[in-house]
Each structure stands twice: as C-alpha cells, then as structure tokens.
C-alpha cells in the first residue's frame, strides 16, 4: 500500500532507550524450541480461556516446536491481528501465563508472550524474505465499505478482518502516528514506536487505507461517514491525560503521564535535564507504574510513586510494582496531593496529606507527573450514540453496535481503559458482526469464536434434548 508509514518517528541511536536490552528479549530459535517443548499441550487449556482473544495457545506453541512458524503465526493472527505487539505489551502474568498449569506444579509457567513474539516476528520476517503472504488478500469485492475512526488496536484489528474478506476499510486518524497507545503511550521499555509501526504497516498491507491527520468533527463529520459508508467503527480510545487541580497547570515541570511517555517515546529532541533529582508520580495504576519504571531506567535518581490508598488496593499489577522497585522506584502509600509549592516557574515541593493520619507534609521535588487517568471523548460523539455515566460509549456486548446500528465501537472508548488485547478482541467481534450482517461468513475465525459458536449450538441442542426428555 502507498500509505506505509515512513520511519521518521524514531529516536536517534544515541538515545538511552535504544541501549535498553528488552526486558523480555526475542527468543533465539534454540530458546524458543526448549520453551515450546516444555508446553504440556493441555486439552481445553486454561491459558486459552484466560486470553481475551482466545488464541489457541497450545496449538501455536506446538507448531513452533515442529518448526512450523508460518502455521504458528497464523493461529495467533486468526485470533488476534495484533499478536505481535500483544506478545510484548500484554500483562501475560495476569492472563495466559498466570493461568498456565505449571503454576500449580510450582514450576515456571510457559513464557507464552515471548513465544508469541517469536512466532509472529519470525513469520513476518519469512513473509518479507519470501514475498509469500500469510494471508492472501481476498480479492472478493463485497461492495461494502467501512470507515474506522482512530488507528489504534481496535480499529486495526477490525479493519484487518474486514479487509481479509474483501471489505474496503478506511481508517481516519487525527494524529500523525497510527498504532494508538502502542506507538505513543506504552512505555518504551515495553515496546518502542518503531516496533508498533512495523506491526501497523504489516496490518495495513492487507489492503487497508489509512488517512492520518484527519479529525472527525473538524475535517469530516461523523454523520458524513455514516452516510458514505456501510458501517462506521469508533475506536478513538481515551482523551488527553487528566490533570488534578494542584495550582500549577501548564507549568513545564508538571506532566500528564501519557504526555510524558509520548515525549520520551516520540520526540527525538527530548532529554531529561541534568539537574533533575526527584520526580513524583501521582497515581496507582499501571500507567503510573510504567512511567515510574521508565524514568528510573533513564537514570532519574529519586522516583517516587504517590498513591492515595495502600499498596494492596493499587489498581496497577503487583508484579509490575515489584519490577519497578527493582529499578529503584519507591512507593509512598496513603497520601493524597494537595498543592504544588513553587517559586515562579520553579517547582519546590508537593504538599500532600496522609489519608491515614491527616498529617500534612511536603515532598521536595523537581517534576510532578500525574497518572490519574485520561479524559473521555464524549463531546466528540454524535448525540444519537448513547454514552454511559462514566463517559463510555454504550455497545451491545456481542455485536459491539452502539445505539446507532450502523455505528460500532470498541477498545478503550467503550471500556474506559483496558489492555491492547481487549481492544483487538472488540475490533474483531465488530468486524465479524458486520460481515455476518452482510451475509459474508468470516474466512478467518480464531479458536474462541469457533468455540463460543459451537458451545452455543451444543447448549441449544442439549436444551432441546432436555425438553424432549422432560
């Protein structure tokens, strides 16, 4: 496709982020074989149920073990078109790896994310070297066309499954970079922008058109898309990072976490000041832990995470907090920020109150990073699409249709902020619902789709049986 993203988003090679060794490096062939052969090949494996996209994990792992890399990658992509990035950014410890039966044997669980990264990366390399496509582009023209708003994981997944069945898919992205949070807001130690863009380009090559720097509501209206296309998919994620009222908004030393990650990740000219000593991060979610860890890895001496409740109550994952601590991130529990104390532009400290004793004290600091969630895009959406009290678009849980039946939605804008893998699953389900409503049976369906279909069928069968038998 002509709309391949040029690689001018990258960081220069002398940037420290480029020197980081991956925290879960790409397996060598030997490592992948050893790990793949360890897999017990469980029947009705718990890792599959733990995967939001229901990848047939034992199947793809056993294909790695037999050297069938192409087959392995297909199993992954059939269930999850973002299999390459999710192999790296998924919280596997909480999902598939956490469900591995080896945990119950007190042995180390299968490193499913790393095997998935290996299979997808190798298959993409084979594809590039041989010119043979994993998924030949379906030439069957369906006469249907779909507009997708936002080029994040949800839209990319949705567009891919549509394109593979001959539906014209056009993605509108207001940013210059596609890929959503993978490209802009997942900490670089997990995935760097160029890896995200590699995946986006791989997905786009299946016949998807991408239009960047087009903002819906400004450059083109939603109603116009609804008129011109057979369906519209909204995958706009969340809005800008939320700010607290600490009396120093717009101060250059006060950041929202997503903005700061984006600067670190995408801005070649960005660098941390030499006299930076202490950074306070406010929040307790995974983004807060992520930015803390990234800053500590980049050499900031004193990185403290301030959370208003106890460690046990943190929404961020415990294993991520443990890893961040290894890099020197310190957690301050049970404090709530009150005010940034500054001397003109220069920040002196953050005044906080203990939520346990109500004591008030000052934390001297140079920067303050707020990781307290993102705003919702509610105002951008047409009034005929229902939004819940949390600002999330309301969709049918099976079809992913909004209250306007021509409009679908998925990803963070419907769930308020979950994982990339959840967005990928939403996008796929929406694509399948569109295809089915147009009488096209999806040519690709992953294990989960197949399973849920058969079990519904079987359930109905047994229900009939039970009725028959009284």
């Amino acid at each position: 496709m002509s709309n391949k993203i040029s690689p001018n988003y990258g960081l220069s090679s002398d940037r420290l982020e480029k020197q980081f060794s991956d925290y879960k490096p790409l397996y060598t062939e030997a490592e992948a074989l050893i790990e793949a052969n360890r897999c017990l090949n469980c029947y009705d494996a718990p890792c599959i149920s733990a995967c939001p996209t229901g990848i047939d994990i034992p199947a793809f792992i056993k294909k790695i073990a037999t050297g069938n890399i192409i087959g392995s990658a297909k199993v992954i992509f059939e269930a999850n078109m973002l299999g390459y990035s999710t192999g790296r950014v998924c919280p596997v410890e909480e999902l598939c790896v956490g469900a591995c039966v080896y945990n119950d044997l007190n042995s180390s669980p299968i490193q499913i994310g790393r095997l998935q990264r290996y299979a997808t990366k190798k298959a993409m390399e084979i594809e590039e070297n041989t010119g043979k496509k994993l998924f030949p582009i379906n030439r069957r023209k369906s006469e249907k066309k779909v507009a997708l708003i936002g080029a994040g994981p949800a839209s990319l997944a949705c567009a891919a499954y549509l394109a593979l069945d001959g539906v014209e898919a056009v993605i509108f992205e207001k940013d210059v970079l596609p890929g959503g949070l993978n490209s802009t807001a997942v900490a670089p130690y997990k995935i760097q922008t160029e890896d995200s863009i590699t995946e986006v380009n791989w997905i786009l090559q299946h016949g998807i058109e991408l239009k960047t720097k087009v903002e819906i509501g400004k450059d083109i209206s939603l109603d116009q898309l609804i008129d011109e296309y057979n369906a519209v998919f909204i995958g706009i994620g969340l809005g800008a990072g939320r700010h607290l009222e600490l009396g120093a908004n717009n101060n250059p030393a006060v950041f929202s976490a997503t903005n700061l990650i984006r600067k670190i990740k995408n801005d070649p000219d960005f660098s941390l000041p030499n006299d930076l000593n202490t950074i306070l991060i406010i929040g307790g979610g995974n983004t807060a832990i992520d930015i803390s860890r990234e800053l500590a890895m980049l050499g900031v001496k004193d990185v403290r995470l301030l959370y208003r409740r106890s460690r046990q109550e943190m929404p961020g994952y415990e294993h991520e907090m443990v890893e961040a601590s290894r890099y020197g991130v310190r957690l301050v529990e049970n404090v709530t920020p009150l005010e940034i104390i500054r001397n003109g532009e220069k920040i002196n400290s953050l005044k906080v109150k203990s939520t346990v004793s109500n004591d008030i004290f000052d934390f001297p600091c140079d920067w303050v990073v707020e990781a307290v969630g993102q705003l919702k895009h509610v105002s951008d959406i047409s009034p005929e699409i229902e939004v819940d009290e949390m600002g999330r678009l309301v969709v049918d849980s099976k079809s992913f249709r909004t209250t306007n039946p021509k409009v679908y939605a998925g990803g963070d804008c419907i769930n308020g902020g979950k994982e990339v893998v959840n967005a990928a699953q939403d996008g796929r389900e929406a694509a399948f619902d569109m295809l089915k409503s147009w009488g096209i049976s999806p040519s690709l369906h992953g294990e989960k789709y197949f399973k849920s279909f058969t079990s519904i069928f079987v359930q109905e069968m047994t229900k009939e049986e039970n009725i028959k038998n009284g």
């Binding site: 074989l33 017990l40 469980c42 029947y43 494996a45 080896y102 044997l105 069968m461 047994t462 049986e465």
Partner: protein, 446 residues
C-alpha cells in the same frame, strides 16, 4: 554395600557394567579411561580385516526437545591395523588385570577365524565375542547379521571358535530375525559359553526434508544402519527375556540395548542378564555415567535387601508369561488425586479419544460416555450429545473424574498425566479367583 562383582562363564568382573563393542572401545587409551571411570569390562571394537569407513556415519532421533532418544550408525568394524589393536589389548590387560577385556571378532573363513582367535588369546583377552550382529555393511560381505540369519552357519562358526579358543566364547546376536530363539539355540548347539544380545536393528533413521536424502547422508546418498539407544530398550528386554526363560538356553547372557541408567541395567539383570553392555549412552554423555550406575545399583540392591548382584539375576523371569496365562479377573481402576491435579485435561482427552471415554470433565461440554456402563460392549453408533456436569465446588471444576464402573483399568490416563503420583491405578476386589484364557478354554468357555 552389596557385592557387585559377577562371574560370567568363569570370567570375573568387578561389576556387571561393560562397555559394548563400539566407538567407545576403539583404542586402548579410551578403554583405560573407561576402566578408570569405573567400567568393569570392555568389549573391544570389533576386530577383523581393517575396513575403510564413510563420512558421515551417525544419525539420531530427538523427541520433544530430548536429544538422541534413538541412534543409528553406518560405521563398520575397526579401521585400525590389527597389530595396533592387539598391542593395546596386551598393554591394557597388563595394566588393568582385574578388568575384563573381551575381543569382538568378525572375519570370514575358517583360517581367518583361527588366526584372529589365536592372536586375541595371545594378547590376553579374557573372552571372545563373535559379532554376528552388524546389520549394515559387513552383512553385504557375508558377515555380521548375515550369519545370524543362517542358524546353521552360525552354529558352525561358533564350533570353529570353540575349537580354536581356550577362553570363553560369546555369540552376539542380531535382533533382525523373526524369532530370536533360532540364532540363540544355534549358538548353544555350536557350543558357545555365553550369549550377548541385542546388536543393532536394521534402520533408516530419517530423511533430510531439504535434500530428500535419507540420514545419515554420505553426499547425496545413504544406506540402512543399525538402530540403538534408549528407544530400543523394550525390544532388547523382550529378546533377553525370551532366551532367559528358555530352559534350552543354558548359558549366561550379557544384555545390550538402550541401557543408560542403573534402572535400565537392573531391569536387564532381573530379566536374566549376568552382565550388561552400554554404548549409546556413553557416546552421548561419556564414560562418567557409570558412576551413578554403580552407585544407584548398589543403593537399589541395599534397599531390596540383596547382598549381591547375583541375587537379582533372572528375578523377573517368572513374571514373564504368555498372554493366555494372565488373570482375566484382575480388576483395577484409575483414581485421580484432586489435590495434585493441575487441570491440564490430558487424561480426559487421552481417555476420550484413545481409550474408553470414561474420564469426565466439569470444565465444559463433556464428551465422555454417558450411556449405560457396558465397557463398550453395546453398539455405539451415534455421537452422544455432550453433557454439562454439575461442577460442585468451583475450585474443583478443573479436576476430571473417572466413571469407575466404566473404567477398564488400561493405565493410559496414568501414563499421560504430567504430575507424579496424581493418577494411580487401584485394585478392585473381586470374588472369583484367578482365571486365565487358558483356564477358560480348558474349561470349555471363552
């Protein structure tokens, strides 16, 4: 500490563990290092008219990441001058008088046998092993396994050897025969003192899927080789036991075939071997493996209350009977330990697709047999609708359960279960006494 020393055909060995005739016994320097490591004896790499070998020579089978579960070779007998070999045998025997050296021999004519036997005995060999086993290369020249396939020839050459030798003569048998008793009885009728078995199995180890040349390749071609290694142990055990229980085979046996550990060795000894020989495991890991063979075997004998290795010889033979003598009334069923189960579902799918559909799952649709318990005797012509079992305790939902009435006690679930001691086969009491198929046919019912 049990006494590991054994006496086979009058040859005393400090332990039953010998190096088999193969690359690890190619030179005196190697054999001495083997003795230093603890091997009781060594059967020298087969001597004969020196040959020319090819490159490459070895191939192997890996399984699920485990290297060399089976091994094959197209190497021939020694390619070194006989003078060098005999000089080394003489020197090694002089330096290691308590260790056993057996000269493995393979020549063609009676005169050649006479000559090579004389030189072997003169060099100090404690015994001879006539190599009638090699299934590759040498058999094309009328030697090796070609002899084992002709019992009359085998008996005749054995009698020549006995005529020319004043040390014990072992005959090494090839497994590439319909019935191992044919060459075994021929060897005994030729007057052998002992039997070694098995040699390697005629094999093609694999095909290179890039070049489409069988392995191991010699340029663009290959040939059949001899198969050995852990994978062949069951074949060797069977042939050993068949000869071990045959009253006409009244000579001691040296067991060979896939032995890697003391457990393997103990199994061979229990089925009638007096000594055992090892090759592939040494080629894989080196002479050092004998350390645990000695140590582990010793501990085993101590735990069994046996004071000597001799006490174990043949102890498992009475339990090796014909199928028709097995008890048809003996009943066992599988029991799954709920606390140990990790919910992998392997027993469920193995029983469902590979056995008797009597393990059920609470996790999802259960496709096990839900009709009357009939052990599959009734006609099953329809696929039954799957059943959702009432899960009970949610935490236990991953644990499959056994339909004990339908369970036929086949062991399959226990064999595939990855958790040690999670599935056990438990005996079910029955009122009738032992009744075998032979009993039933004798009584007129079947």
């Amino acid at each position: 500490m049990a006494d590991l020393s054994v006496n086979i055909c009058g040859i005393k060995s400090p332990n039953p563990f010998w190096l088999a005739s193969a690359p690890p016994t190619n030179t005196g320097e190697q054999v001495m290092r083997g003795f230093d490591a603890g091997w009781g004896g060594a059967v020298w790499k087969t001597l004969g008219e020196p040959i020319v070998n090819v490159d490459s020579r070895f191939g192997a089978i890996d399984y699920s990441g485990t290297k060399v579960i089976g091994f094959n070779n197209i190497e021939l007998i020694t390619d070194r001058p006989l003078d060098a070999n005999f000089k080394e045998i003489y020197e090694v025997k002089k330096r290691y008088p308590d260790n056993v050296i057996i000269a493995s021999l393979m020549v063609e004519t009676k005169e050649e046998w006479q000559e090579i036997i004389k030189r072997s005995v003169d060099a100090g060999a404690d015994g001879l092993e006539l190599n009638f086993g090699c299934p590759h290369g040498m058999c094309e020249r009328g030697m090796g396994s070609a002899v084992a396939e002709e019992p009359k020839v085998l008996a005749e050459i054995t009698s020549w050897a006995k005529e020319f030798s004043n040390v014990p003569v072992f005959v090494k048998l090839s497994p590439n025969v319909m019935d191992i008793r044919d060459p075994g009885l021929a060897a005994v009728s030729g007057g052998c003192d002992g039997i070694s078995l098995i040699n390697t199995i005629k094999s093609i180890i694999g095909v290179d899927l890039d070049t489409l040349v069988p392995k191991p390749s010699v340029g663009k071609e290959s040939t059949n080789g001899g198969y050995c290694g852990p994978a062949i142990k069951p074949i060797a055990l069977h042939m050993l036991a068949v000869l071990g229980r045959d009253p006409k085979i009244n000579v001691p046996i040296s067991g060979i075939g896939g032995i890697s550990t003391w457990q393997d060795a103990a199994e061979f000894i229990a089925l009638g071997a007096t000594t055992i020989q090892v090759c592939t495991a040494v080629m894989h890991y080196g002479y050092r493996i004998v350390d645990d063979m000695i140590d582990g075997f010793n501990n085993y004998l101590d735990n069994k209350g046996m004071h000597s290795a001799n006490e174990l010889i043949g102890k498992a033979i009475p339990g090796f009977v014909e199928w028709g003598e097995l008890d048809l009334n003996y009943d066992i069923i599988a029991k799954i330990d709920e606390d140990k189960c990790i919910g992998c579902g392997l027993c469920y799918v193995a029983c469902l697709d590979g056995a008797h559909q009597c393990i059920h799952t609470r996790k999802g649709p259960c496709n096990a047999w839900h009709g009357d318990s009939d052990h599959g005797f009734g006609p099953r012509t329809e696929v039954m609708p799957p059943v959702w079992h009432n899960g009970g305790e949610p935490a236990m939902n991953h644990v499959p359960f056994v339909d004990e009435k339908e369970c036929i006690g086949c062991n399959l679930c226990m064999l595939v279960c990855p958790v040690p001691d999670c599935i056990n086969m438990v005996e079910v009491s029955h009122s009738g006494g032992k009744e075998s198929w032979k009993d039933r046919t004798t009584n007129g019912s079947s």
